[in-house]
């Protein structure tokens, strides 16, 4: 190799390594926010106004080909502990099976109504907007068709709205079926760190990409901003960004006893599609540029960083081994070679923190971690990184090619415990 070539390679490697190091450290910073000191940990919980509930709620449940899980979800929702709420099941005009299930529950309880969405093609934001017109509650909440909702949730959210003068309350969501596949454990932990820790830092800095469910927004505000963006693949993130930009007060609360339980995608393919959709949605929000109206420069940088983060993280996972390998095989100065290992350090540390997170996760969800879980977590890291990188690439590719179709995640009810699934026993698995 020529001297000039060697020098260029050394400079490039050094720059890439420092960049990757910055990405890895910032990812870790966000991941560990909740535990930065005991006071912060306490702040991440629900702060509620005491007293009886005073608000009324409309809970939207968009369901498409969800006859396997919807009935149980609606049954649970109609038994929530709150004096004033309604449940709106949103079904497609072409989806008779799901509609039948929804109507059956509606017939048993006046609290449950069925809204038929006639839009075509179908997607979640369109369904939500259709139902928004029918909402009677002061607060509109969103749940997915497979969600397990804590009975006390509404009562507590009611208190948070009053205590924090909030316009939006985001509750915790947790994937729980962490032993159903090799990636489900990683997937569960991602949610754990996201809702337990990361969202709270976003809240502190006033820029929150909201989650897809267990999110509650004042109905009047929702109508004022025109509901969800039907062209966006991450409508939840998008509306969060819009409301953040308007300076609306968004409260993020986490309590292990009040999280909404969900299931992981059941196959690698489904996970890949789900991630592609989210990533592409983030890209769309980035391109749409509402965040440019955020008041401070710091917030705008945070917006850029947040919306790019899935891509940064995915590429870092791939780029770190490549840069280390380059440094080892190409003859670069020893200082540069050592520098290429720098980003690997926080990355490895993150895996260790995930092990600690797994222990914490198991503790708060009353599970007993096994050695095999820890092993799976560590061994699953490289393939999971590759998967994330693939989803990131796929998202960029699809967005560039203009493929904006909605790739929906299907649900089998793996997160439901045997005891709680007796309600659903009547509905057999439906073809999808």
């Amino acid at each position: 190799m020529s001297d000039v070539g060697g020098a260029v390679l050394a400079v490039v490697l050094a720059a890439v390594s420092l960049g990757l190091f910055a990405v890895a450290v910032s990812t870790m910073w966000w991941m560990l926010h909740a535990w930065r000191d005991p006071e912060t940990l306490v702040e991440t919980g629900f702060v509620q106004e005491p007293g009886e509930p005073q608000l009324s709620f409309s809970l939207l449940v968009p369901a498409r080909h969800e006859e396997a899980v919807l009935e149980q979800t609606l049954e649970q929702l109609r038994r929530l502990d709150h004096p004033s709420y309604e449940v709106l099941a949103i079904v497609g005009h072409d989806d008779q099976g799901t509609a039948d299930v929804a109507r059956r529950v509606a017939a048993r309880d006046g609290k449950v109504r069925v809204v038929v969405d006639h839009n075509w093609p179908k997607n979640k934001p369109l369904a939500l907007n259709t139902a928004l017109a029918h909402c009677r509650g002061e607060i509109t909440g969103v749940f997915d068709a497979e969600d397990e909702v804590a009975p006390r949730l509404l009562r507590v959210v009611d208190g948070v709205f009053r205590a924090e003068q909030a316009d939006v309350v985001q509750g915790g969501v947790q994937l729980v079926n962490f032993r159903s596949s090799w990636f489900s454990l990683r997937n569960c932990l991602e949610y754990f760190f996201y809702f337990r820790s990361r969202l709270h830092l976003q809240e502190r800095h006033g820029f929150i990409p909201l989650g897809g469910n267990t999110v509650f927004i004042r109905t009047a505000l929702l109508r004022q901003v025109g509901g969800w963006d039907p062209t966006c693949l991450a409508e939840d993130c998008e509306i969060g960004v819009r409301l953040s930009t308007m300076g609306r007060r968004i409260a993020v609360c986490y309590d292990a006893h009040l999280v909404t339980r969900e299931e992981t995608p059941d196959t690698v393919g489904a996970l890949l599609k789900q991630r592609t959709r989210w990533n592409q949605g983030f890209l769309q929000v980035l391109r749409k540029g509402d965040w440019r109206q955020l008041p401070t420069r710091r917030q705008r940088w945070l917006a850029r960083y947040t919306l790019c983060q899935p891509f940064l993280q995915a590429f870092a996972g791939i780029a770190i081994p490549i840069s280390v390998a380059t440094a080892l095989f190409a003859d670069v100065p020893i200082g540069i070679a050592m520098l290429t290992f720098l980003p690997a350090l926080p990355t490895v540390a993150m895996v260790v923190f995930e092990l600690v997170g797994l222990r914490e996760f198991c503790r708060v969800y009353y599970l007993r971690p096994q050695f095999s879980d820890y092993a799976k977590l560590v061994l699953g890291t490289p393939p999971y990184q590759i998967l994330l990188a693939a989803a990131a690439l796929r998202a960029v590719w699809r967005e560039a090619r203009g493929h904006r179709g909605w790739e929906k995640t299907s649900h089998a009810g793996l997160h439901r415990t045997a005891a709680s699934s007796t309600v659903a026993a009547g509905t057999g698995p439906a073809p999808r």
Binding site: W35, D37, P38, L41, I334, L345, V348, A349, V352, V356
Partner: protein, 507 residues
Amino acid sequence: MLLPLVAVVTAVHATGIARWPGFSDDEGTYVAQAWAVLHGQGLTHYTYWYDHPPLGWLQLAGLRGLAGPVLDDLSAVAAGRVLMLVPLVASCTLLWLWARRLGLRVPAAALAVALFGLSPLSVAFLRGVYLDTLALPWMLGAFVLAATPKRRLWSYAGSGACFGVAVLTKETMLLLLPALLLQVWQTCDRRTRAFCVTAFGSVLSAVGLAYPLYAALKGELLPGRDHVSLLAGVVFQLSGRAATGSPLDPSSASAALVDSWLAIDPWLLAVGVLSVPTALLVRRLRPVTLALLVLVVVGLRPGYLPQPYVVALLCLCALVAAGLADTAVGAVRSAPGQPRRLVRPVVALLVVGGLGAALAPDWASGLRTATTVDANEAGRQATAFLAERVDPRARVLVDDSYYADLVEVGFQPQFGVVWFYKLDQEAGLDPSVAERLPGGWREFDYIVSSPVLRSALEQQPDSLEEVRRALSSSTPLQIFGTGDGRVEIRRIVGEGTGSGVPNLAAP
């Protein structure tokens, strides 16, 4: 309170810093290695053989670079000593912070800093260019951060980083890990403890792993036929060094070393070590007491006891003693039903006065020696003589404190000015010297017989054979000073000796 105290301590240390105590070989070595770093010659002036992790003299080189031409008038080791005021000031400040974070009241924290900074033993050792002194602020910083009152996650991570740097500066600091872990554990909140301990541990290992990574990238991690290796260096430090025995055995070299410490100042070490059993009963003092206890126990085992081992002991002794005093005062204050108004000042006066009266004469005479005696005059004269009167092409065998200065005035590095230890073929620590100078002592024109060189010969009667021959085959050319402190410049004479440089001018 802190500022004037640190100013006084610094003034005492700075007065006569280059004159007393006499330069040691270790100081010369670290200064020469820092010199090699600054001049782009790699990590050391000879092959780096993983004797110590390099971070200490890298810091020294950094400080020297920052100081720039300000110190150019001083000899290399003297300049190094002036730079040691930086870790001194940092250590005093951090010791204060640690004391405050452990809940010591201001007077007690001041007492800790004063005991540590003004003990003649501290002056004797913290003036020296030793890796231990460079590691000290990092070690104290690790404890200060671990004692974070807000129990911040990133503070624990910072603590791990500091401790990693401390260990890579002087590896013996690793002995304090259990005490530091105890400090981390004690301050942690139960709910965030797992994350805090993980942050501490992963940052510490990340920093620590940089050292073996460096060795591995150079292909020097494991021993091989004709290269140095990290593993061989570690094995040498752990078992290869000639044991100096246990200080408990009065005839051992370790006992002599400890005696020499106690001769300079018996008080600080005695008060500190005697406080240990009681201080262990006080929860907040347990980490620092455990640190002291570990160092004492390890120091008492038979094995190699390094000279500057005392450096870390000093600040721990000071803090344990001051902490215990603070606890005692607190206990007296809160004791109910006593005529406190009268008793308290009397007790305080008795304790402080008694201790002061006992300390004062010893410390005053120790500090007088430290600030007035010049133990390096002969060495300076010898360097000047060599620089002015001896042909710089000549090959000279010296102790390491002469190395950098002679190279600065034009002598050839590595194989022109040769550090006498490198001639010890038996140890086989540096193959390059044996290869380049196959004739051993015969390849030299001059030998500088300094106190350092003579005491090395005395302490290691079974090795350094080449140096002994060089000495016995030489005649004195010029002698500076008298007695044990004298420095002789000797010409090596005899058949087939000399560097063979043609027309070497005779002085």
